[in-house]
């Protein structure tokens, strides 16, 4: 069976500066991977390279989503193919109601996949269910996307988008940053509901804390733009004890 995400010897740069240095990672459907590492190790870069953010350039190697070469796809094609990035700092879209945004995004993806658009009543019903799981007020969804949202509200909104769009591969970039413990539980609960045998989840985090709620199958340590160690969920606990110092020196 083809892996959901297959990264082979990937090198990537921003403005001529190489950030990823021969990255290898394989995520199979049904797995949850955690990528941990010190600040500046290129964790967010990985998520931007995979999702196709302008300015992030692959110079060598390959990244395949369900066998398809991501470098040959535009940002929106990658999204329609099932790649979702939950942003560390979600962007504001002034004047565009969240509900309008959700509808536009979902139907754009469906259209690209040759599927029927979701009707407005079905859509509202589904969003209501999800908002309940995430303990969100429907009133919030009438407000412009992320405008005036607190840190916690933004992360809930990201999770709601992810649950609605039902991607094949979810990449969560520092989703725990800016969350208090209650919000962390709610968001983690949402993510856990997305765990399925058909879906892969990559959790990028600096701290072990999030992994108390989203239990990973595999934990990787990233340093200086590549994975330097891979283990089971116990590796996260070990890192909590020892810190990243030894990996930083290893990379240097």
């Amino acid at each position: 069976m083809t892996a959901l995400l297959e990264i082979r010897d990937l090198k990537a740069e921003i403005a001529g500066k190489q950030i990823l240095n021969g990255y290898d990672l394989t995520v199979k459907a049904g797995e949850v991977h955690a990528i941990m590492g010190p600040n500046g190790s290129g964790k967010s870069t990985l998520s931007y390279v995979l999702s196709g953010r302008p300015g992030y350039k692959i110079t060598e190697g390959q990244a395949l989503l369900a066998g398809a070469d991501l470098s040959q796809m535009s940002v929106d094609e990658r999204a329609a193919a099932g790649l979702f990035l939950a942003f560390q700092y979600p962007l504001e879209v002034p004047g565009v109601a969240t509900m309008t945004f959700l509808r536009a995004a979902l139907n754009a993806q469906r259209k690209k996949r040759g599927e029927e658009e979701m009707s407005s009543p079905d859509m509202i019903k589904r969003v209501k269910e999800l908002a309940k799981i995430l303990d969100m007020d429907m009133e919030m969804l009438r407000r412009p996307v992320n405008v005036g949202f607190s840190g916690g509200e933004k992360k809930r909104a990201e999770t709601l988008q992810m649950m609605l769009l039902e991607p094949k591969l979810c990449i969560l970039d520092e989703t725990d940053s800016g969350l208090d413990i209650d919000a962390l539980k709610v968001v983690s609960n949402g993510v856990n509901q997305l765990r399925s045998k058909d879906r892969g989840i990559v959790v990028i985090t600096h701290y072990q804390r999030l992994l108390d709620y989203i239990t990973p199958d595999v934990v990787h340590v990233q340093s200086a733009g590549r994975i330097v160690r891979t283990g089971g969920k116990e590796l996260a606990l070990e890192l909590e004890e020892t810190g990243y110092a030894r990996y930083q020196s290893e990379a240097a």
């Binding site: 953010r53 940002v75 929106d76 999204a79 962007l91 879209v93 004047g95 536009a104 995004a105 979902l106």
Partner: protein, 495 residues
């Protein structure tokens, strides 16, 4: 390619091909001799069978115009206009006063059908979307083709409530006392170069009178179409809302694609008496010229509303996407105590378009208030300037204004300018001014695209969000259409 670069690339490709109203109607026209002279003015006046005083009025304006010079202060640049190389009157031959729609030339009906403008009363404006089951809004339309009105719908029904809605040439014959009482009282014949020219040669336009206490039972709309080559369009619109009445009026405009520039110098006068309210909306989609700046309409328009009565209100809402050059400042003279003026504008420029537009709020009466919300979007190699005046007379005790001007830039070859003038002669006034200029954010586009929206849809979404405050002011029936128009103007891929 970076998202913004791609948008810029798409915008570059837009240009002329995207203007879907650029077709030419092949119809025989009755033209005045080329050029401008007293004879031509007499010709126009005779064609319209006008009273003697009207001819004198025109001639006086013409003589004054000869002494005036074209204004040069706007941030626009164009070659000198040869006023003798234009036709000042063009009328489809077949329309020598059609009595009913059945008599209108089928070629003209087809033209309006193509433009999505219903001239049959059972139809509704194209692009109007309503949930099923809800009654469809009815809109009365006056269709002006080159220099003449070719059809006006729902006249009979409006008449029942006392509303007069007809071509101004007809009003001059049927209601001369009303026209004479109000014409030129808001924009005098001496007002400015283009308004004076209009006063001399105006050929048609709409006339609206709402009697005291009447709420006009439907939206009124005039649809302007310039078809004939080398022809200027000089329409004149006069709307009078008598005491305690209300009317909502919409104006739309398109023109064929032609290589030479066409001149459009209209005058719109609004008069609101005590407690009356006029809401005037414009969706301006004149041909903007091709990507190299060839062709397109010169839109030199004077629009002014006079809040003549106490507690009256005039509101201008405009969506401007067309014209090679726009020079236009819909204004409010707040004469009546506690009167209110509003100006909501979306001005989009692309290609080589040049826009110098804004408003004037002249506070004369006590307790007058005004609000200005202007959203300018520049793309391509266009230039987009907001120019606005807010002034208070010595007697304008307690006048208030709030102004908000936002500019959005797409790409790095366009420009945006904000030129506000504020003059307060009464110490009790409160004038507020806010302005921002920003570039469309690459990060926001990336965020939207990561959720599955294409480059174009993401841009359209961001722009629609940017202009939302103003779109909300449009009559609902037209908001959908305006939203689409914005996407087309910027993207070129829609439709």
């Amino acid at each position: 390619m970076a998202a913004v670069e791609e948008t810029v690339e798409q915008v570059r490709r837009v240009g002329a091909d995207q203007y879907k109203y650029g077709f030419i109607t092949d119809i025989e026209s009755d033209l005045a001799p080329k050029g401008l002279s007293e004879e031509v003015i007499r010709f126009i006046s005779a064609k319209k069978d006008e009273p003697e005083w009207m001819l004198e009025w025109r001639l006086e304006a013409y003589r004054r115009w000869l002494t005036m010079t074209e204004p040069k202060w706007a941030r626009v640049d164009y070659p000198a206009i040869d006023y003798q190389d234009l036709y000042y009157y063009a009328a489809p031959k077949s329309t020598a006063g059609p009595k009913s729609l059945d008599e209108v030339d089928p070629e003209l009906l087809r033209t309006y059908e193509k433009l999505g403008i219903p001239l049959h009363e059972r139809e509704i404006l194209a692009g109007v979307e309503r949930p099923e089951g809800e009654e469809r809004p009815r809109v009365a339309v006056d269709a002006v083709f080159d220099s003449v009105s070719v059809a006006t719908t729902f006249k009979e029904e409006l008449k029942k409530s006392g509303v007069i809605f007809c071509p101004i040439s007809e009003a001059l014959r049927e209601h001369p006392e009303l026209v004479r009482k109000y014409l030129g009282t808001v924009v005098p014949t001496s007002d400015n170069y283009f308004a004076t020219l209009n006063s001399a040669v105006f050929s048609d336009g709409s006339f609206v009178y709402i009697p005291p206490g009447v709420r006009c039972p439907m939206e009124l709309s005039t649809y302007f179409r310039i078809n004939e080559k080398n022809t200027g369009q000089f329409e004149r619109t006069l709307i009078i809302a008598d005491r305690g009445s209300y009317v909502s009026y919409l104006e739309g405009c398109t023109a064929p694609k032609r290589d030479e520039n066409q001149l459009h110098a209209a005058v719109v006068e609004l008069v609101a008496l005590d407690d009356a309210e006029i809401k005037y909306s414009t969706v301006q989609n004149w041909y903007p010229g091709d990507e190299n700046g060839k062709g397109g309409i010169y839109n030199f328009v004077t629009k002014r509303g006079d809040c003549r009565g106490a507690n009256s209100k005039i509101s201008w809402t405009q969506v401007e996407t067309g014209s090679a050059i726009t020079w236009k400042y819909p204004s409010c003279v707040l004469r009546g105590d506690n009167s209110r003026g509003e100006f909501y504008s979306i001005a989009i420029s692309n290609g080589r378009q040049q826009v110098d537009s804004g408003t004037k709020m002249i506070h004369l009466g006590k307790g007058t208030t005004s609000r200005i919300i202007s959203k300018g979007i520049s793309a391509g190699r266009s230039s987009n300037a907001y120019r606005g005046l807010v002034s208070a007379h010595r007697k304008a005790e307690g006048a208030r204004n709030f102004t908000n001007c936002d500019s959005l830039l797409i790409g790095d070859a366009c420009s945006a300018h904000t030129i506000p003038y504020i003059e307060a002669k009464n110490p009790s006034c409160v004038f507020e001014h806010e302005a921002t200029t920003s570039k469309i954010s690459e990060d926001v586009l990336f965020y939207c695209m990561q959720r599955g929206l294409s480059q174009e849809d993401a841009t359209a979404l961001v722009v629609n969000g940017f202009v939302r405050d103003v779109l909300q002011q449009l009559p609902m029936e037209f908001a959908v259409e305006a939203q689409k128009l914005i996407s087309v103007s910027l993207e070129g891929s829609v439709g």
